[in-house]
Protein backbone atom coordinates (compact mmCIF):
# COMPACT_ATOMS: atom_id res chain seq x y z
CA UNK A 1 0.00 0.00 0.00
CA UNK A 2 1.63 3.22 -1.15
CA UNK A 3 -1.30 5.59 -0.75
CA UNK A 4 -1.31 7.51 2.49
CA UNK A 5 -4.86 8.18 3.55
CA UNK A 6 -5.25 11.55 5.19
CA UNK A 7 -8.20 10.30 7.19
CA UNK A 8 -7.20 8.21 10.17
CA UNK A 9 -9.68 5.87 11.85
CA UNK A 10 -8.69 3.64 14.72
CA UNK A 11 -11.63 1.46 15.76
CA UNK A 12 -9.91 0.79 19.08
CA UNK A 13 -9.60 4.48 19.99
CA UNK A 14 -11.86 5.04 23.02
CA UNK A 15 -11.90 8.79 22.35
CA UNK A 16 -13.99 8.13 19.26
CA UNK A 17 -16.85 6.68 21.27
CA UNK A 18 -18.47 10.05 21.91
CA UNK A 19 -19.09 11.14 18.34
CA UNK A 20 -17.63 9.04 15.55
CA UNK A 21 -19.96 10.50 12.90
CA UNK A 22 -17.87 13.41 11.60
CA UNK A 23 -15.03 10.98 10.98
CA UNK A 24 -17.38 8.46 9.34
CA UNK A 25 -18.62 11.27 7.08
CA UNK A 26 -15.05 12.05 6.04
CA UNK A 27 -14.36 8.39 5.36
CA UNK A 28 -17.49 8.11 3.20
CA UNK A 29 -16.43 11.13 1.14
CA UNK A 30 -12.63 11.05 1.15
CA UNK A 31 -11.78 7.38 1.64
CA UNK A 32 -14.69 5.17 0.62
CA UNK A 33 -12.14 2.38 0.61
CA UNK A 34 -10.07 3.01 3.70
CA UNK A 35 -6.89 1.21 4.70
CA UNK A 36 -5.45 1.30 8.20
CA UNK A 37 -1.69 0.64 8.18
CA UNK A 38 -1.32 0.22 11.90
CA UNK A 39 -4.00 -2.41 12.41
CA UNK A 40 -3.83 -3.75 8.85
CA UNK A 41 -7.45 -3.72 7.78
CA UNK A 42 -9.69 -2.20 5.13
CA UNK A 43 -13.00 -0.45 5.77
CA UNK A 44 -15.95 0.65 3.63
CA UNK A 45 -18.55 3.14 4.77
CA UNK A 46 -20.94 3.99 1.92
CA UNK A 47 -24.42 2.49 2.14
CA UNK A 48 -24.27 0.77 -1.25
CA UNK A 49 -20.86 -0.78 -0.49
CA UNK A 50 -21.89 -2.00 2.94
CA UNK A 51 -25.14 -3.44 1.62
CA UNK A 52 -23.47 -5.20 -1.30
CA UNK A 53 -20.51 -6.43 0.73
CA UNK A 54 -22.41 -7.86 3.66
CA UNK A 55 -24.70 -9.76 1.29
CA UNK A 56 -21.74 -11.25 -0.63
CA UNK A 57 -20.57 -14.05 1.65
CA UNK A 58 -18.61 -15.73 -1.13
CA UNK A 59 -16.21 -12.77 -1.27
CA UNK A 60 -16.50 -11.56 2.30
CA UNK A 61 -16.43 -14.61 4.51
CA UNK A 62 -17.49 -15.00 8.13
CA UNK A 63 -15.48 -18.21 8.56
CA UNK A 64 -12.87 -16.44 10.66
CA UNK A 65 -15.37 -14.48 12.69
CA UNK A 66 -16.84 -11.00 12.46
CA UNK A 67 -14.61 -9.13 14.92
CA UNK A 68 -11.39 -7.65 13.55
CA UNK A 69 -8.96 -9.09 16.09
CA UNK A 70 -10.58 -12.53 15.89
CA UNK A 71 -10.32 -12.56 12.09
CA UNK A 72 -6.68 -11.57 12.33
CA UNK A 73 -5.91 -14.11 15.05
CA UNK A 74 -6.77 -16.84 12.52
CA UNK A 75 -8.04 -19.32 15.06
CA UNK A 76 -10.05 -22.45 14.52
CA UNK A 77 -13.69 -21.83 15.42
CA UNK A 78 -15.98 -24.66 16.55
CA UNK A 79 -19.03 -25.64 14.48
CA UNK A 80 -22.34 -24.12 15.57
CA UNK A 81 -21.01 -20.61 16.06
CA UNK A 82 -23.31 -19.35 13.26
CA UNK A 83 -21.85 -15.88 13.28
CA UNK A 84 -18.50 -17.39 12.34
CA UNK A 85 -19.68 -19.60 9.49
CA UNK A 86 -20.53 -19.37 5.81
CA UNK A 87 -23.27 -21.09 3.81
CA UNK A 88 -24.05 -23.95 3.40
CA UNK A 89 -22.97 -25.00 6.91
CA UNK A 90 -24.16 -21.68 8.33
CA UNK A 91 -27.61 -22.21 6.85
CA UNK A 92 -27.93 -25.71 8.29
CA UNK A 93 -27.07 -24.40 11.73
CA UNK A 94 -29.14 -21.23 11.44
CA UNK A 95 -32.26 -23.18 10.44
CA UNK A 96 -32.14 -25.04 13.74
CA UNK A 97 -32.55 -21.75 15.55
CA UNK A 98 -34.60 -19.83 13.02
CA UNK A 99 -37.94 -21.43 13.87
CA UNK A 100 -37.61 -20.21 17.45
CA UNK A 101 -36.78 -16.64 16.42
CA UNK A 102 -39.61 -15.95 13.96
CA UNK A 103 -41.57 -12.76 14.68
CA UNK A 104 -44.55 -14.94 15.65
CA UNK A 105 -42.70 -17.12 18.13
CA UNK A 106 -40.98 -14.08 19.61
CA UNK A 107 -44.30 -12.23 19.93
CA UNK A 108 -45.55 -14.93 22.29
CA UNK A 109 -42.90 -13.79 24.79
CA UNK A 110 -44.44 -10.32 25.05
CA UNK A 111 -46.46 -10.81 28.26
CA UNK A 112 -43.45 -12.23 30.12
CA UNK A 113 -41.07 -9.58 28.79
CA UNK A 114 -43.49 -6.86 29.82
CA UNK A 115 -44.00 -8.37 33.26
CA UNK A 116 -40.24 -8.47 33.76
CA UNK A 117 -39.82 -4.89 32.54
CA UNK A 118 -42.51 -3.66 34.94
CA UNK A 119 -40.86 -5.44 37.84
CA UNK A 120 -37.52 -3.90 36.91
CA UNK A 121 -39.01 -0.40 36.79
CA UNK A 122 -40.95 -0.76 40.04
CA UNK A 123 -38.08 0.19 42.39
CA UNK A 124 -37.32 3.41 40.45
CA UNK A 125 -40.92 4.53 39.97
CA UNK A 126 -41.33 7.88 41.71
CA UNK A 127 -37.57 8.41 41.90
CA UNK A 128 -36.11 11.80 40.98
CA UNK A 129 -33.20 10.20 39.22
CA UNK A 130 -32.03 6.71 38.33
CA UNK A 131 -29.57 5.00 36.02
CA UNK A 132 -31.56 3.60 33.11
CA UNK A 133 -28.79 1.18 32.13
CA UNK A 134 -28.62 -0.25 35.61
CA UNK A 135 -32.40 -0.42 36.04
CA UNK A 136 -33.33 -1.96 32.68
CA UNK A 137 -30.63 -2.05 30.00
CA UNK A 138 -28.12 -4.25 31.76
CA UNK A 139 -30.55 -6.83 32.99
CA UNK A 140 -33.51 -7.14 30.66
CA UNK A 141 -31.90 -8.74 27.58
CA UNK A 142 -30.28 -11.55 29.56
CA UNK A 143 -33.52 -12.17 31.40
CA UNK A 144 -35.34 -12.46 28.09
CA UNK A 145 -32.69 -14.77 26.63
CA UNK A 146 -32.99 -16.72 29.85
CA UNK A 147 -36.75 -17.04 29.26
CA UNK A 148 -36.03 -18.34 25.76
CA UNK A 149 -33.36 -20.79 26.85
CA UNK A 150 -35.30 -21.79 29.95
CA UNK A 151 -32.64 -20.77 32.47
CA UNK A 152 -33.87 -20.43 36.06
CA UNK A 153 -34.13 -16.78 37.08
CA UNK A 154 -31.73 -17.15 39.97
CA UNK A 155 -28.88 -18.22 37.65
CA UNK A 156 -29.33 -15.48 35.06
CA UNK A 157 -27.27 -12.60 36.52
CA UNK A 158 -24.21 -14.86 36.79
CA UNK A 159 -24.50 -15.82 33.13
CA UNK A 160 -24.86 -12.18 32.09
CA UNK A 161 -21.73 -11.18 33.98
CA UNK A 162 -19.70 -13.93 32.37
CA UNK A 163 -20.80 -12.87 28.89
CA UNK A 164 -20.16 -9.18 29.52
CA UNK A 165 -16.68 -9.88 30.85
CA UNK A 166 -15.89 -11.77 27.68
CA UNK A 167 -17.01 -9.08 25.26
CA UNK A 168 -16.04 -6.08 27.35
CA UNK A 169 -12.82 -4.34 26.36
CA UNK A 170 -11.55 -1.47 28.46
CA UNK A 171 -9.93 1.63 27.04
CA UNK A 172 -9.29 0.44 23.52
CA UNK A 173 -8.39 -3.14 24.42
CA UNK A 174 -9.00 -6.16 22.24
CA UNK A 175 -11.11 -9.21 22.87
CA UNK A 176 -9.32 -12.32 24.03
CA UNK A 177 -10.17 -14.97 21.46
CA UNK A 178 -10.05 -17.78 24.02
CA UNK A 179 -12.67 -16.10 26.16
CA UNK A 180 -15.13 -15.47 23.38
CA UNK A 181 -15.66 -19.18 22.81
CA UNK A 182 -16.07 -20.04 26.46
CA UNK A 183 -19.23 -22.01 27.17
CA UNK A 184 -18.70 -22.45 30.90
CA UNK A 185 -21.77 -20.45 31.79
CA UNK A 186 -24.14 -23.05 30.39
CA UNK A 187 -22.20 -26.24 31.09
CA UNK A 188 -23.74 -27.23 34.41
CA UNK A 189 -27.12 -26.22 33.24
CA UNK A 190 -27.30 -28.51 30.20
CA UNK A 191 -26.95 -31.67 32.31
CA UNK A 192 -29.85 -30.56 34.47
CA UNK A 193 -31.98 -29.67 31.46
CA UNK A 194 -31.46 -33.12 29.97
CA UNK A 195 -33.25 -34.59 32.95
CA UNK A 196 -35.91 -31.87 32.94
CA UNK A 197 -36.96 -31.20 29.35
CA UNK A 198 -39.48 -28.39 28.70
CA UNK A 199 -40.65 -26.21 25.82
CA UNK A 200 -37.57 -23.99 25.91
CA UNK A 201 -34.93 -23.34 23.26
CA UNK A 202 -32.27 -25.48 24.90
CA UNK A 203 -34.51 -28.55 24.99
CA UNK A 204 -35.44 -27.90 21.37
CA UNK A 205 -31.78 -27.70 20.41
CA UNK A 206 -30.97 -30.92 22.23
CA UNK A 207 -33.77 -32.86 20.57
CA UNK A 208 -34.06 -31.38 17.06
CA UNK A 209 -33.03 -33.77 14.31
CA UNK A 210 -31.30 -32.32 11.27
CA UNK A 211 -29.20 -33.37 8.32
CA UNK A 212 -25.64 -32.19 8.83
CA UNK A 213 -23.11 -31.08 6.19
CA UNK A 214 -22.06 -34.70 5.67
CA UNK A 215 -25.62 -35.79 4.93
CA UNK A 216 -26.00 -37.55 8.29
CA UNK A 217 -29.27 -37.13 10.19
CA UNK A 218 -28.51 -36.55 13.85
CA UNK A 219 -29.09 -34.33 16.88
CA UNK A 220 -26.62 -31.74 18.13
CA UNK A 221 -23.84 -32.81 20.45
CA UNK A 222 -23.67 -31.28 23.94
CA UNK A 223 -20.74 -29.13 22.86
CA UNK A 224 -22.70 -27.83 19.88
CA UNK A 225 -25.72 -27.03 22.05
CA UNK A 226 -23.43 -25.14 24.42
CA UNK A 227 -21.93 -23.19 21.56
CA UNK A 228 -25.38 -22.21 20.31
CA UNK A 229 -26.43 -21.02 23.75
CA UNK A 230 -23.27 -18.98 24.17
CA UNK A 231 -23.65 -17.41 20.74
CA UNK A 232 -27.29 -16.47 21.37
CA UNK A 233 -26.45 -15.04 24.78
CA UNK A 234 -23.37 -13.19 23.58
CA UNK A 235 -25.05 -11.69 20.54
CA UNK A 236 -28.27 -10.63 22.17
CA UNK A 237 -27.24 -9.33 25.53
CA UNK A 238 -25.14 -6.20 25.40
CA UNK A 239 -26.40 -5.09 21.98
CA UNK A 240 -30.04 -5.02 23.09
CA UNK A 241 -29.16 -3.45 26.42
CA UNK A 242 -27.40 -0.64 24.61
CA UNK A 243 -30.47 -0.10 22.42
CA UNK A 244 -32.50 0.67 25.53
CA UNK A 245 -29.78 3.09 26.65
CA UNK A 246 -29.85 4.88 23.31
CA UNK A 247 -33.62 5.21 23.62
CA UNK A 248 -33.14 7.01 26.95
CA UNK A 249 -30.37 9.24 25.62
CA UNK A 250 -32.07 10.20 22.34
CA UNK A 251 -35.41 10.89 24.00
CA UNK A 252 -33.64 13.34 26.31
CA UNK A 253 -31.87 14.98 23.39
CA UNK A 254 -35.06 15.17 21.30
CA UNK A 255 -37.85 15.95 23.77
CA UNK A 256 -40.33 16.76 21.00
CA UNK A 257 -40.03 13.19 19.71
CA UNK A 258 -40.42 11.88 23.26
CA UNK A 259 -43.63 13.89 23.77
CA UNK A 260 -45.01 12.55 20.50
CA UNK A 261 -44.29 8.96 21.51
CA UNK A 262 -45.78 9.43 24.97
CA UNK A 263 -48.94 10.86 23.38
CA UNK A 264 -49.15 8.16 20.71
CA UNK A 265 -47.34 4.90 21.55
CA UNK A 266 -48.25 3.43 18.15
CA UNK A 267 -45.35 5.51 16.81
CA UNK A 268 -42.88 3.61 18.98
CA UNK A 269 -42.00 0.73 16.59
CA UNK A 270 -40.94 3.16 13.88
CA UNK A 271 -39.05 5.24 16.43
CA UNK A 272 -37.11 2.13 17.45
CA UNK A 273 -36.08 1.68 13.80
CA UNK A 274 -34.86 5.27 13.69
CA UNK A 275 -32.92 4.79 16.93
CA UNK A 276 -31.32 1.70 15.39
CA UNK A 277 -30.38 3.70 12.30
CA UNK A 278 -29.16 6.76 14.16
CA UNK A 279 -27.15 5.01 16.87
CA UNK A 280 -26.56 1.36 15.96
CA UNK A 281 -25.28 -0.54 18.99
CA UNK A 282 -23.02 -2.64 16.75
CA UNK A 283 -21.32 0.03 14.62
CA UNK A 284 -19.33 -2.23 12.30
CA UNK A 285 -18.92 -5.83 11.20
CA UNK A 286 -15.74 -7.60 10.11
CA UNK A 287 -15.24 -10.08 7.27
CA UNK A 288 -12.36 -12.03 5.78
CA UNK A 289 -11.65 -11.42 2.08
CA UNK A 290 -11.50 -14.73 0.15
CA UNK A 291 -10.34 -13.43 -3.24
CA UNK A 292 -8.79 -10.27 -4.68
CA UNK A 293 -11.44 -7.56 -5.04
CA UNK A 294 -11.27 -4.33 -7.05
CA UNK A 295 -12.77 -1.43 -5.11
CA UNK A 296 -12.33 2.24 -5.99
CA UNK A 297 -9.46 1.45 -8.37
CA UNK A 298 -7.52 -0.43 -5.76
CA UNK A 299 -7.06 -4.12 -5.12
CA UNK A 300 -8.09 -5.50 -1.78
CA UNK A 301 -6.03 -8.67 -1.65
CA UNK A 302 -7.36 -12.06 -0.66
CA UNK A 303 -6.57 -12.69 2.99
CA UNK A 304 -7.36 -9.12 4.11
CA UNK A 305 -9.71 -8.19 6.89
CA UNK A 306 -12.40 -5.65 6.05
CA UNK A 307 -14.75 -3.74 8.32
CA UNK A 308 -18.19 -2.79 7.02
CA UNK A 309 -19.18 0.34 8.94
CA UNK A 310 -22.95 0.14 9.28
CA UNK A 311 -23.01 3.24 11.48
CA UNK A 312 -21.53 5.20 8.57
CA UNK A 313 -23.80 3.57 5.97
CA UNK A 314 -26.82 4.48 8.08
CA UNK A 315 -25.96 8.15 7.61
CA UNK A 316 -24.99 8.09 3.95
CA UNK A 317 -26.68 11.09 2.30
CA UNK A 318 -26.80 9.06 -0.94
CA UNK A 319 -29.32 6.83 0.78
CA UNK A 320 -31.02 8.99 3.44
CA UNK A 321 -32.26 12.55 3.14
CA UNK A 322 -30.75 14.78 5.78
CA UNK A 323 -29.16 11.73 7.45
CA UNK A 324 -27.93 13.48 10.60
CA UNK A 325 -31.46 14.52 11.49
CA UNK A 326 -33.19 12.25 14.02
CA UNK A 327 -36.72 11.74 12.71
CA UNK A 328 -39.02 9.15 14.27
CA UNK A 329 -41.36 9.39 11.26
CA UNK A 330 -38.70 8.47 8.74
CA UNK A 331 -39.19 5.29 6.70
CA UNK A 332 -35.90 3.75 7.55
CA UNK A 333 -34.08 0.79 6.04
CA UNK A 334 -30.99 0.75 8.19
CA UNK A 335 -28.03 -1.60 8.09
CA UNK A 336 -27.86 -2.12 11.85
CA UNK A 337 -29.00 -5.75 11.77
CA UNK A 338 -26.81 -6.55 8.77
CA UNK A 339 -27.85 -7.95 5.39
CA UNK A 340 -28.39 -11.39 3.89
CA UNK A 341 -27.55 -14.77 5.37
CA UNK A 342 -26.26 -13.27 8.62
CA UNK A 343 -29.11 -10.79 9.12
CA UNK A 344 -29.51 -10.61 12.89
CA UNK A 345 -31.37 -13.72 14.00
CA UNK A 346 -32.55 -11.90 17.10
CA UNK A 347 -33.89 -8.82 15.31
CA UNK A 348 -37.51 -9.58 16.25
CA UNK A 349 -36.46 -10.07 19.86
CA UNK A 350 -34.45 -6.83 19.96
CA UNK A 351 -37.39 -4.95 18.44
CA UNK A 352 -39.81 -6.47 20.94
CA UNK A 353 -37.59 -5.60 23.89
CA UNK A 354 -36.94 -2.09 22.59
CA UNK A 355 -40.64 -1.43 22.07
CA UNK A 356 -41.74 -2.82 25.44
CA UNK A 357 -39.03 -0.96 27.33
CA UNK A 358 -39.98 2.26 25.52
CA UNK A 359 -43.70 1.80 26.24
CA UNK A 360 -43.19 1.03 29.91
CA UNK A 361 -40.67 3.81 30.48
CA UNK A 362 -42.79 6.44 28.72
CA UNK A 363 -45.87 5.39 30.63
CA UNK A 364 -44.13 5.91 33.98
CA UNK A 365 -41.86 8.82 33.05
CA UNK A 366 -43.33 11.09 30.39
CA UNK A 367 -40.35 13.45 30.73
CA UNK A 368 -36.68 13.29 31.66
CA UNK A 369 -33.29 14.76 31.03
CA UNK A 370 -29.91 13.09 31.31
CA UNK A 371 -27.24 14.14 33.80
CA UNK A 372 -24.71 14.18 30.97
CA UNK A 373 -21.77 14.97 33.28
CA UNK A 374 -22.26 11.65 35.01
CA UNK A 375 -23.24 9.62 31.96
CA UNK A 376 -20.61 7.30 30.52
CA UNK A 377 -20.40 6.27 26.89
CA UNK A 378 -18.29 3.26 25.99
CA UNK A 379 -17.13 1.62 22.82
CA UNK A 380 -15.72 -1.89 22.75
CA UNK A 381 -14.58 -3.60 19.58
CA UNK A 382 -18.13 -4.87 19.09
CA UNK A 383 -20.58 -2.51 20.77
CA UNK A 384 -21.07 1.19 21.36
CA UNK A 385 -23.46 2.64 23.92
CA UNK A 386 -24.09 3.99 27.41
CA UNK A 387 -22.51 2.22 30.35
CA UNK A 388 -24.22 4.62 32.75
CA UNK A 389 -27.12 6.88 31.89
CA UNK A 390 -28.50 8.81 34.89
CA UNK A 391 -31.98 10.08 34.05
CA UNK A 392 -33.28 13.15 35.87
CA UNK A 393 -37.02 12.73 35.93
CA UNK A 394 -39.21 15.72 35.15
CA UNK A 395 -42.05 16.45 37.50
CA UNK A 396 -40.84 13.97 40.09
CA UNK A 397 -41.84 15.71 43.30
Amino acid sequence: MTTVDTVYWDPYDPALARDPYPLYARMREEAPLYYNEQHKFYAVSRHADVQRGLADWQTYSSSRGDILEIIQADIELPPGTLIFEDPPVHDIHRKLLARVFTPRRIATLEPRVRAYCRRALEPVTGAERFDLVEAVGAEMPMRVIGMLLGIPEADQPAIRDLTDETLGTEGGGKINHEDILSTDAFKDYIEWRKRHPSDDLMTELMTAEFEDENGITRTLTDDEVLTYCSVVAGAGNETTGRLIGWFGALMARYPQARRELAADPTLIPNAIEEILRFEPTGPFTGRYVTKDVELYDRTVPAGSAVLFIQAAANRDPRRFDDPDRFDIHRVTQHMSFGVGAHYCLGAALARLEGRIAAEEILERFPGWDVDWDHAELAQTSTVRGWKTLPLVVEGAR
Binding site: Q51, A55, W57, P87, D91, R94, K95, A98, R99, F101, T102, P103, R104, Q333, F337, V339, G340, A341, Y343, C344, A347, A348
Partner: protein
Amino acid sequence: MTTEWWNVTVDTRMCVRTGLCAASAPEHFELDANGQGHARSATLPASEEVLEVAESCPIEAIGIRDADTGEQVFPPPGS
Protein backbone atom coordinates in the same frame (compact mmCIF):
# COMPACT_ATOMS: atom_id res chain seq x y z
CA MET B 1 -49.93 -30.06 2.50
CA THR B 2 -53.21 -30.14 0.63
CA THR B 3 -52.02 -27.92 -2.19
CA GLU B 4 -49.39 -28.21 -4.88
CA TRP B 5 -48.57 -24.61 -5.78
CA TRP B 6 -48.31 -21.35 -3.93
CA ASN B 7 -48.40 -17.72 -5.00
CA VAL B 8 -45.59 -16.10 -3.07
CA THR B 9 -45.43 -12.31 -2.92
CA VAL B 10 -43.19 -9.81 -1.17
CA ASP B 11 -44.96 -6.68 0.05
CA THR B 12 -42.53 -4.01 -1.12
CA ARG B 13 -44.11 -1.38 1.14
CA MET B 14 -43.12 -3.41 4.18
CA CYS B 15 -39.90 -5.00 2.95
CA VAL B 16 -36.77 -3.49 4.51
CA ARG B 17 -34.41 -5.45 2.23
CA THR B 18 -32.79 -7.72 4.71
CA GLY B 19 -31.91 -10.09 1.86
CA LEU B 20 -32.60 -13.01 4.15
CA CYS B 21 -35.09 -14.71 1.79
CA ALA B 22 -32.64 -14.87 -1.12
CA ALA B 23 -29.80 -15.87 1.19
CA SER B 24 -31.67 -18.72 2.84
CA ALA B 25 -33.51 -20.10 -0.22
CA PRO B 26 -31.67 -18.87 -3.33
CA GLU B 27 -33.49 -21.39 -5.53
CA HIS B 28 -36.82 -19.74 -4.71
CA PHE B 29 -35.98 -16.09 -4.03
CA GLU B 30 -33.67 -13.51 -5.58
CA LEU B 31 -32.77 -9.86 -5.10
CA ASP B 32 -32.94 -7.10 -7.69
CA ALA B 33 -30.12 -4.58 -8.11
CA ASN B 34 -31.50 -2.49 -5.23
CA GLY B 35 -31.55 -5.41 -2.86
CA GLN B 36 -35.32 -5.86 -3.10
CA GLY B 37 -36.22 -9.53 -2.74
CA HIS B 38 -38.92 -11.38 -4.69
CA ALA B 39 -39.94 -14.92 -5.59
CA ARG B 40 -38.20 -16.25 -8.68
CA SER B 41 -41.51 -17.17 -10.31
CA ALA B 42 -45.17 -16.27 -9.85
CA THR B 43 -45.91 -19.68 -8.36
CA LEU B 44 -43.67 -21.92 -6.31
CA PRO B 45 -44.23 -25.55 -5.37
CA ALA B 46 -45.56 -25.75 -1.83
CA SER B 47 -42.80 -26.69 0.57
CA GLU B 48 -41.82 -26.52 4.20
CA GLU B 49 -38.76 -24.54 3.12
CA VAL B 50 -40.73 -21.71 1.48
CA LEU B 51 -43.04 -21.58 4.49
CA GLU B 52 -40.01 -21.30 6.78
CA VAL B 53 -38.63 -18.44 4.72
CA ALA B 54 -41.94 -16.57 5.06
CA GLU B 55 -42.10 -17.29 8.79
CA SER B 56 -38.50 -16.19 9.29
CA CYS B 57 -38.81 -12.92 7.39
CA PRO B 58 -37.99 -10.43 10.14
CA ILE B 59 -40.84 -8.10 9.23
CA GLU B 60 -43.20 -10.69 7.74
CA ALA B 61 -43.25 -9.07 4.33
CA ILE B 62 -43.75 -12.39 2.54
CA GLY B 63 -47.29 -13.59 1.88
CA ILE B 64 -48.32 -17.03 0.64
CA ARG B 65 -51.61 -17.98 -1.01
CA ASP B 66 -52.81 -21.24 -2.46
CA ALA B 67 -52.46 -20.80 -6.23
CA ASP B 68 -55.68 -22.71 -6.96
CA THR B 69 -58.06 -21.56 -4.28
CA GLY B 70 -56.50 -18.19 -3.39
CA GLU B 71 -56.70 -19.24 0.23
CA GLN B 72 -54.23 -17.50 2.50
CA VAL B 73 -51.47 -19.78 3.81
CA PHE B 74 -49.18 -17.24 5.49
CA PRO B 75 -49.61 -15.17 7.54
CA PRO B 76 -52.15 -17.62 8.99
CA PRO B 77 -55.69 -16.35 8.35
CA GLY B 78 -57.28 -14.59 11.29
CA SER B 79 -53.97 -13.64 12.88
